[in-house]
Amino acid sequence: MAMKFRTLKRHFKEGLKNSWRNSWMTLASVAAVTTTLILVAVFLALVLNLNYIASGLEEDVQIKVLVDQTANEEEIEELGEALDGLDNVESVVFSSRDEELQDLMTSMGEQGEAWGLFEQDNPLNDAFVVTAEEPQDTVAIADVIIEDFDYVDRVNYGQDVVQNLFTFNNYARIVGAVLIVALVFTAIFLISNTIKITIIARRKEIEIMKLVGATNWFIRWPFFVEGLLLGILGSILPIAVLFTGYYYIDQNMGAVNQFDFIQLLPFTPFVWQLAGLILLIGAVIGVWGSVMSVRKFLKV
């Protein structure tokens, strides 16, 4: 496979010329690559952002440790330190029973004010708000707190809801990952399948080249270049769509003020990374599809 530089140059020129000579086929292939990659780009952007949003929701999950009303100040302080010492705990914040009542009233809105009458007879507990380093650990940490700590009245982290959220997110993540992998493989298959068809249509030419004394590599190289060109040309539009589309949505997401709670992945570096991935898929599959499809017609 040692090759003169001028031969390499010849192969590149020939590959470009061939794309031009088979302009119909090239156009159709590029169109197929383009549509497929747009699909991949849109879908990847969607699923990765949903995952990001889900993670954001999980971040908000906290454990509220309600302190036994019989505990004195010293014991409360001890409990706080002990909680702080737990593995995987990010922060522990104290919230007195008065603050708790205030919070509750605020969260209940207008109806809550009616309860203001009962401020003197506050039935609530002091509380520690514990945040886990990894949201996923929340349930485990809560279990440890219940079992191992004294002066803990109850532990509250919206057990049902949080459990549901995590389970749902986990399932959704699995489904998302499966769909992404499936879609990428589908894209790979569709692209290489299209290329294969165009090369089946050119089998006679490949046979003639072999008959004139061309080695397999001599024939493969221009196809390599053609595949590369196909992949790169086919990536341009998807990447353009990705950039403008994401930019547009990113800008307008802020304007639709109901969606404060939805935070998209930041434009840089996310879109750049995704664009790189799209280009990579295009180029690699283009080359691979071309070279592989040629292979079966080289045995002449």
Binding site: K4, R6, T7, R10, N18, R21, N22, E205, I208, M209, K210, L211, V212, G213, A214, T215, F218, K299, V300
Partner: protein, 228 residues
């Protein structure tokens, strides 16, 4: 140059095209291959540059055993042989120039050398002014001459031509024959399948007649004919 012993060729569909060929062709010879339509001439030719593989027997070309040969080495064999195919086998998307140049590119000739040689052979077959046309824009005879130009471009040791004058008028045919004789004069072995009684009987050379897959006559300075 070419040695065949008991060569048989049966195609996948069961047709036996050659049925026990023994032949020796020496370097520098000029051989006519004659025979009826379907006799096996093209099959004989295809065996020599391994477009087809013999079903049994022994073939040596240029001291290479074609049946033991590795796939890898087949292109090297083919580069020593120039072939004018009965159906031309031009690359349809390439211009006349590119078609001929291709045969030189595969041996990694220098671009300057290629340019010079291509125009030279196109001139010889009278197609210098059609270099930029694609095969579909040529007449039948012009396509045939492109095929001839490509076959001789690389100064092959062996030149095989399968009815190279089938689509040519008598004048052009004689010109092509003159070229072939010249090439033969420089030591190139030439094998030419033909149906032209006139050519075979005028330029007298060795005549091998094939009939029903067998060599029925092998005569130096022979006449056209394939009856037993």
């Amino acid at each position: 140059m070419i040695e065949m012993q008991q060569v048989k060729k049966t195609y996948p569909n069961g047709v036996t095209a050659l049925n026990g060929i023994d032949i020796n062709i020496d370097p520098g010879e000029f051989v006519y291959l004659v025979g009826q339509s379907g006799a096996g001439k093209s099959t004989f030719i295809k065996l020599i540059f391994r477009e087809e593989m013999a079903s049994s027997g022994q073939i040596r070309v240029n001291n290479k055993d074609l049946l033991e040969m590795k796939w890898r080495d087949v292109p090297l064999l083919r580069r020593e042989i120039g072939v004018v195919y009965q159906d031309f086998k031009l690359l349809p998307k390439m211009t006349v120039y590119e078609n001929v140049a291709f045969a030189l590119e595969v041996v990694e000739e220098s671009p300057r050398q290629i340019r010079k040689r291509v125009m030279e052979v196109l001139d010889q077959v009278g197609l210098k002014n059609k270099a930029r046309f694609i095969p579909d824009e040529l007449s039948g005879g012009e396509q045939q001459r492109v095929a001839i130009a490509r076959a001789m471009a690389n100064y092959p040791k062996l030149l095989i031509a399968d009815e190279p004058t089938g689509n040519l008028d008598p004048d052009t045919s004689w010109e092509i024959m003159k070229i072939l004789e010249e090439i033969n004069g420089t030591g190139t072995t030439i094998i030419m399948a033909t149906h032209s009684k006139e050519i075979v009987n005028t330029i007298k050379r060795r005549v091998i007649a094939i009939e029903g897959g067998l060599i029925v006559r092998d005569q130096h300075r022979g006449e056209y004919g394939y009856e037993v």
